[in-house]
C-alpha cells in the first residue's frame, strides 16, 4: 500500500539565511554548534518518515525537540527550509498560496494544545469556523457543526462561550471544530497536554473510540510516553530536531535505540511507580507436582488456553512445564513431570518496579511473581505490562515535562 504522507529529508532552520544551517547540518555540525557559530536555530534536521492511511502516529519528544515544528511544517504553518512532504504523491511544499489554503480547508484538521478557541464566538460558531471560511451555506454549516458537536458529546452547549466551559470541554470543542470539516488527516499538537490527568485519560479513550468509527489519519504530538503508548499505532521519538527512533510502542520500550530513548523510557515515572504486583494477572490454573502427570497438565493447559503451565509443590513454585514437552512425555509414557519441568525460571518479587521487568521480559515471558515463601502470586506477560503502562495504573501527572508550553518561540 502506498503511504498517505511521506516526509523526505525535511529541514527547518530558524533565522536569517537558513540554507547555511542546512549545509552545516549536512557537514555534521550539531544543533548547539550551529547556534553558537551562526545564531541559527535548528528546528528539524533531516527528518524522513511516513504515515499510513488510518493510523495514529505519535511524534514524541521533550520540549525543544522539534515535534511541534514538525507538525506545523506538514500544513506549512511553518515553512520548511528544505525537503519534501508528499501527500498522496503531491508535494505540499510546492503548492502556491491558494492551493495550500484549499488543502488546509479540505484535508487537514488541526487541534491545538491550548485549544485556540475563538473567545468571541459561541461554541457552535467556533465549530462552524472552518466551514464558514469555505463559504458553506449557513444551514448546511449549522447541520454539520451540530453533528460534530454531537460526536464529541457536547450537545446542548452550542450557545455557550468557550470561557464558560471546562478545559476538557473546550478541547472537545477544539476537536469538533476540526471534525466538522471532515478532513482525512488530523494534526493534534499536544492536544491533551493541557488537561488534568483524569480528563486527559477520558479524552484519550474518546479519541480511540472516535477513531474506531472514523479511521482518520492522525498525527499526534505528545511529550507523554503513556499517551504515546496508549494512542500510537507507531511512535516516532525526536531529539534535537532529529528522529532517534521509530517503531511500535513495544519495540521502543524493549529495544531503546540509544541512551536518550532508554532514559526517556526509564524516566517515565509510571514504570517506577508501577510494580510487578499491580501489573500481574491471576495465574489461573497451576499444575501440582505431586498429583499431576503430563496428561493432567496438558488438560489443564488446554482448558485454560495456555501453552505452558506453572507447577507448584507444597505451596512453592517449582517451575514450568511447556505443552510440547508434556505431550512428548505423554507419548513416552512418563507418569510424572520430573523430567520435563523447567526449574530455571525468572521469578520476581511483587515489589519489583516495572522498568526492571523490561529486560527480564525480553529474555523470557511469562514472568512469575512470587512472595517471600516462593508462593506463586501472579504472572506477567509482555502484553499486560504494556497495557498496564498505557493505562497509567495508579499514577497521575506522569508527564515528562508538564510545563511544556509547546513550540519554542521563534
Amino acid at each position: 500500500m502506498d503511504h498517505k504522507i511521506v516526509v523526505q529529508n525535511l529541514y527547518k532552520i530558524f533565522g536569517n539565511h537558513p540554507r547555511k544551517g542546512v549545509k552545516l547540518l549536512k557537514q555534521g555540525y550539531t544543533k548547539d554548534q550551529i547556534l553558537e557559530k551562526t545564531g541559527l536555530g535548528v528546528g528539524i534536521a533531516d527528518v524522513s518518515f511516513h504515515v499510513d492511511e488510518g493510523e495514529i502516529l505519535v511524534i514524541m519528544g521533550l520540549s525543544g525537540s522539534g515535534k511541534s515544528t514538525l507538525v506545523r511544517c506538514l500544513n506549512r504553518l511553518i515553512e520548511p527550509t528544505e525537503g519534501k512532504i508528499l501527500l498522496e504523491g503531491t508535494d505540499i511544499t510546492s503548492l502556491n498560496k491558494e492551493e495550500l489554503r484549499q488543502l488546509r480547508q479540505k484535508r487537514f484538521g488541526m487541534v491545538f494544545q491550548h485549544f485556540a478557541l475563538f473567545p468571541h464566538r459561541s461554541v457552535i460558531r467556533n465549530i462552524e469556523y472552518g466551514l464558514e471560511v469555505q463559504k458553506v451555506p449557513s444551514s448546511k454549516r449549522r447541520e454539520r457543526a451540530m453533528k460534530a458537536l454531537e460526536q464529541v458529546g457536547l450537545k446542548g452547549w452550542e450557545d455557550s462561550y468557550p470561557d464558560q466551559l471546562s478545559g476538557g470541554m473546550q478541547q472537545r470543542v477544539g476537536l469538533a471544530r476540526a471534525l466538522a470539516l471532515d478532513p482525512d488527516i488530523m494534526l493534534m499538537d499536544e492536544a491533551f497536554s493541557a488537561l488534568d490527568p483524569l480528563i486527559r485519560r477520558d479524552m484519550q479513550d474518546e479519541l480511540i473510540k472516535l477513531q474506531e468509527k472514523m479511521h482518520k489519519t492522525i498525527i499526534f504530538i505528545s511529550h507523554d510516553l503513556d499517551e504515546a503508548l496508549k494512542l500510537g499505532d507507531r511512535i516516532i521519538l525526536m531529539k534535537d530536531g532529529r528522529i532517534v527512533q521509530e517503531g511500535t510502542a513495544e519495540s521502543i520500550l524493549s529495544n531503546p535505540a540509544d541512551d536518550y530513548v532508554a532514559k526517556f523510557v526509564e524516566d517515565v515515572d509510571i514504570s517506577k511507580v508501577v510494580t510487578a504486583e499491580s501489573i500481574m494477572k491471576n495465574p489461573g490454573v497451576v499444575a501440582s507436582y505431586a498429583h499431576d502427570g503430563p496428561r493432567a497438565a496438558l488438560r489443564k493447559m488446554r482448558q485454560a488456553g495456555l501453552s505452558s503451565i506453572y507447577v507448584q509443590h507444597k505451596g512453592r513454585l517449582m517451575g514450568i512445564v511447556r505443552a510440547e514437552d508434556a505431550s512428548a512425555a505423554l507419548k513416552a509414557g512418563e507418569k510424572d513431570l520430573k523430567n520435563i519441568i523447567v526449574t530455571d525460571i525468572q521469578k520476581v518479587s511483587p515489589e519489583t518496579p516495572a522498568y526492571e521487568l523490561f529486560p527480564l521480559l525480553a529474555e523470557s515471558s511469562p514472568l512469575a511473581v512470587v512472595d517471600s515463601e516462593e508462593h506463586l502470586m501472579g504472572v506477567i506477560i509482555k502484553g499486560s505490562l504494556l497495557a498496564a503502562l498505557a493505562e497509567g495504573v495508579q499514577t497521575n501527572g506522569n508527564d515528562l515535562d508538564a510545563g511544556d508550553t509547546g513550540r519554542q518561540s521563534n
Binding site: R104, Q105, F112, F118, P119, R121, V133, L181
Partner: protein, 283 residues
C-alpha cells in the same frame, strides 16, 4: 550663539516651502475638503440647534442611560448639561461637540486603516510608528500654523489640526489590539485555511475591538482638548469662549467655559468607556 563654522541648514525653510507648494498647487483639494467639512459642521450644528436645549438635554440623558445603565451617570449628564444651559453656554457647547464629532470621524476614517495596515505589515509598522512619535511629541500649537494657509482661519483649519493631533492613539491602539490577538488563535485561523481578509474580519478585528474602542476614546479626548486650543485660529465653541475670556481678562467667563468643557469631556469619556466594556464581553 550662532554656529559660525557651518552654514545654517534650512530645516524650517524646507518645511515652509512644502507647505507653500501644497497650499498653492493643491488648493482644489484643500478647498474641496474645506467645503465638505464646513457643510458637515453646518449640518450638525443646525440640526442640533433646531431643537430647544431641553429636548437635547433629555435626549442625551436618555442615550447615556441606555448605553451605560448607570443611574449616577445619567443624573450627572442631566445636571451637567442643565448647568451648561444655565450658564448660557449651550450654543458654543453644541458647536464644540460638532467639531469633536467631525474630527473624530475623520481621525477614525484615516486612523483605523492605518492601524490595521501597521499591524499586518512590518514595513508599514516601521514607517508609521516613528511618524506617530513625532506627531505626538510635537507641541499641539504647531499644527495650527499650516492649517491657516491651507484652510484659512475658521473651523476647517481647526478640524485639520485636531485630526492630526488626535489621530495617533486611534492608529496605535488599533495596531496594538490586532497584534495582541494570541498567535495560537491566528495560527488556528490559518490552519483552517482562512484568507487574509477572513482572518482580519472574523478574528483579529472582533478580538481587537475593546482596544480599538479605548483608542477611539483617547482620540475623542484629544480632539476635545485640541478643539479648545484651535480657538486660537478661529474655531468657535467653548474654546472660543475661553480665548475671549483670556483676551478680555474675564476670569468668571473663562472658568464657566472651562467647567462646561470638563462636563462635556466627562460625559463623552464615560459613555465611550461603557461602550468599550460592553464590547469586551461577547454579545
Amino acid at each position: 550663539m550662532e554656529m559660525i563654522w557651518m552654514p545654517e541648514i534650512p530645516v524650517g525653510r524646507a518645511i515652509e516651502y512644502v507647505i507653500d507648494l501644497f497650499s498653492e498647487h493643491c488648493s482644489f483639494l484643500t478647498r474641496a475638503f474645506s467645503d465638505l467639512v464646513e457643510s458637515g459642521i453646518m449640518l450638525i450644528v443646525n440640526g442640533l440647534m433646531f431643537f430647544p436645549p431641553w429636548v437635547l438635554i433629555l435626549a442625551f440623558t436618555a442615550i447615556t442611560w441606555f448605553l451605560s445603565r448607570k443611574r449616577g451617570l445619567a443624573l450627572f449628564t442631566l445636571i451637567g448639561l442643565l448647568l451648561i444651559w444655565n450658564m448660557n453656554l449651550w450654543s458654543p457647547t453644541v458647536s464644540t461637540l460638532a467639531l469633536v464629532l467631525i474630527s473624530t470621524l475623520i481621525a477614525m476614517m484615516i486612523g483605523l486603516p492605518l492601524g490595521i495596515l501597521s499591524a499586518l505589515n512590518q514595513y508599514a509598522y516601521r514607517t508609521i510608528m516613528p511618524v506617530l512619535d513625532v506627531m505626538q511629541t510635537m507641541p499641539a500649537f504647531v499644527y495650527l500654523i499650516p492649517a491657516i494657509p491651507f484652510f484659512g482661519l475658521g473651523p476647517v483649519g481647526a478640524i485639520f489640526s485636531t485630526v492630526i493631533f488626535s489621530m495617533p492613539p486611534a492608529i496605535r491602539l488599533t495596531c496594538l489590539g490586532i497584534r495582541q490577538v494570541p498567535t495560537e488563535l491566528v495560527e488556528a485561523a490559518d490552519a483552517f485555511g482562512s484568507t487574509r481578509w477572513q482572518k482580519l474580519f472574523k478574528l483579529q478585528l472582533p478580538m481587537a475591538t475593546p482596544t480599538i474602542m479605548a483608542g477611539i476614546n483617547q482620540t475623542i479626548m484629544l480632539a476635545l482638548s485640541m478643539v479648545v486650543i484651535a480657538a486660537m485660529i478661529g474655531a468657535k465653541g467653548l474654546g472660543g469662549e475661553v480665548w475671549k475670556a483670556i483676551q478680555r481678562l474675564e476670569p468668571a467667563r473663562g472658568f464657566e467655559a472651562g467647567i462646561a468643557i470638563v462636563i462635556v469631556a466627562m460625559i463623552l469619556d464615560r459613555i465611550m468607556q461603557r461602550i468599550g466594556k460592553q464590547n469586551d464581553k461577547p454579545v
